[in-house]
Amino acid sequence: MKIITKDIKFLLFKARKIGINNKTDLFITFILLVGVFATLTNFLNWIFFHANWEVVSRNLNLYIIGTYPKALSWRPFLWISIIILLSFTTLLKKLNYIKKRFIYICWLLIIPLGIYLLAGGINIIPISTNFWGGLSLTLILTFISIIIALPIGILLALGRQSNLLIIKKITSLYIDCMRSVPLIAILFFGQLLTPLLLPVGMEINRVIRAIFSFSIFVSAYISEDIRGGLQSVPQNQIEAAKVLGLNKYQINKFIVLPQALIIAIPALTNQAIGLLQNTSLMAILGLVELLGISRSILANPQFIGSHLEVYVWLALIYWLVCTIIALLAKKIERHFSKSLNFQGDL
């Protein structure tokens, strides 16, 4: 008898530990568990037994390369494979200094390589951006926009901290304007108004217009993230640098920016993931990136009505890509945070 009460007491203790204090708690927990269980079984049941995944399996190529010419489809595939390979080596392997340098250079080369492989040029057949699509278009839109927006964002952040009133006002105005307009409005402006402002016959291609719109929008947000980093660098470090005789450029380059950027990494990762997801807005502006191509596939009479399958599949791809980006960012953060350990010891 004693042993049983002991057991019950032990169970009650365990229950309290995970947050169940009384009967009401137990009841709510039970209801929630049943709800979760029912939803999950229904969903899994649908995924494995009811869903018709033909719409995904038969169009697998299209999701990745879009309407890219079939004979040359190895080019976007090669690019994406290299990205995947590079991500995995970066994430999994413990690397020494030289290999780290090598991988760092590889990442920098990914964007020019992507442009070269997709667009063509020297030695390989040029392909118009109109044929780009699917995951490869989503990725290239994200990568190029970020790589353009980052330096602009840094300059804007520095500009906002500037002592020169004009620069300060102009950058503030730009940042505030960009942040008070929804992204979709800027995208519409880029896609619909810029062609009207250009002389007849002159045409800026739609992908470049999209990249431009994304860059000017995201740079404003990036600059705010970096400003947060800049302001968290202790003022006494700057004063100390001044005492040592460094000029403003040197102070920013050697002392303020390296620390500010590292502090801003989590926020910047957020922007990158946000941007990747925002590229899906281009689907309503006629680009056939991941979401756009899915909607075109759904219009195929053979696959009418498979909305659910396609959107679940899309969610999976977006989740996968975003997770990889998040993990990479975590790795970078951990790598640099070592160098920040002395912060505050001054």
């Binding site: 079939k70 056939v288 219009a299 195929n300 009479p301």
Partner: protein, 348 residues
């Protein structure tokens, strides 16, 4: 200072030169031929009209129209670039010259055609769409009258809602509208049996029906509640291009009237060559006269069109016919001989 001034003047001249060279009397038709490519704006998201097939190529009725025009202009249906466009950007893309031709389920109406409106130039209608009603076959509903005092699923705040209201009011019948936000919800409501009928454009009803489990259990009524003539469009101030496009469409219709198909075009061609008396056929196929040249096309442009896409009936059946997945009864889209309203002016 002088350097600055001269460079500004130079730049202005350069830019103005760029912009004017395209406008002086040169038709878009010449640009298309020079470029050897037709850039065609499509939707890419409408079942049966333009969608992406599993090979990564666009197909559908709108796409076939583009192919026919490309065959007539450039002698090859492959010199064609299809750009998926949304409803918002379609007119801008046309006006700025990003595309040569819009073949994207565009309703032909006055304000789009007029100079002070969108300033487009419409080709003949390639598909007469219109609002229709779909009911379950075993409900016994055959006409609008049978639906009196019953409920109808409809998308709210659309012209669709207005039209069904007008149609019932005109016949002083009563009905209960059950309103939903978008088409997918309307379909779901209809399938759950919340209403006796659902209403939308007939092409959309057909597409929706093909996704049902038993499409045969549902029928689209013959009643047409609104006019939605869908036509390809070109820029308004380019008569030569508009004429050429117009007569390519007419050629498709005329070929069906004359019974010329993709499979018998060669026989018809031989027949016309052997019989000097068959003047209209000889003119139509370009063996005699200069009809094509007058449009700025090859004289045998009709032959090239039919060889690539077939006549209008063949295009229709391939994409929207009884054997396709999106079956829409031809109805108004029959040629006039068969009781429809498609007719081509004479090729004289």
């Amino acid at each position: 200072m002088r350097k600055l001034l001269s460079s500004i003047i130079g730049l202005t001249l350069l830019i103005s030169g760029c912009s004017s060279s395209n406008q002086i009397g040169k038709s878009r038709l010449d640009i298309i031929k020079q470029r050897n490519q037709l850039i065609c704006g499509v939707s890419g998201k409408i079942p049966g009209f333009s969608f992406l097939n599993t090979n990564g190529k666009y197909s559908g009725l709108d796409v076939d129209i583009c192919k026919a025009i490309s065959a007539a202009f450039l002698e090859s249906p492959n010199n064609i670039q299809l750009r998926p466009l949304t409803a918002a950007e379609r007119f801008t893309s046309l006006r700025t010259g990003e595309i040569d031709l819009l073949s994207r389920n565009t309703t032909f109406n006055l304000s789009r055609d007029s100079q002070k409106g969108n300033g487009l130039s419409f080709a003949p209608v390639v598909f007469h769409d219109g609002q229709g009603l779909m009911v379950k076959i075993n409900s016994g509903v055959k006409d609008l009258k049978d639906l009196s005092n019953k409920s109808i699923c409809v998308g709210s705040g659309t012209t669709t809602e207005q039209n069904i209201n007008d149609a019932f009011e005109e016949k002083s019948l009563k009905y209960t509208p059950i309103k939903y936000q978008d088409l997918n919800q309307v379909i779901a409501g209809y399938l759950q049996g919340r209403c006796a009928a659902m209403t939308s454009d007939r092409s959309q009803l057909a597409a929706a029906r093909s996704s049902f489990k038993n499409p045969g259990n549902h029928v689209i009524l013959d009643n047409i509640l609104s006019k939605e003539p869908l036509a390809p469009a070109t820029v308004g101030n380019d008569e030569r291009l508009a004429d050429a496009v117009r007569w390519v469409i007419y050629a498709l219709i005329e070929a069906e009237e004359k019974g010329i198909t993709q499979s018998n075009i060669n026989q018809k061609l031989d027949l016309a060559k052997d019989n000097k008396g068959m003047k209209p056929l000889r003119r139509f196929l370009g063996i005699e006269g200069d009809l094509g040249e007058k449009l700025g096309l090859a004289n045998d442009f009709v032959v090239k069109i039919i060889k690539t896409t077939g006549n209008y009936g063949e295009i229709y059946n391939r994409n929207l016919g009884p054997n396709s997945q999106v079956y829409i009864p031809r109805g108004l889209n029959q040629i006039s001989k068969q009781g429809g309203i498609l007719i081509s002016p004479p090729f004289n």
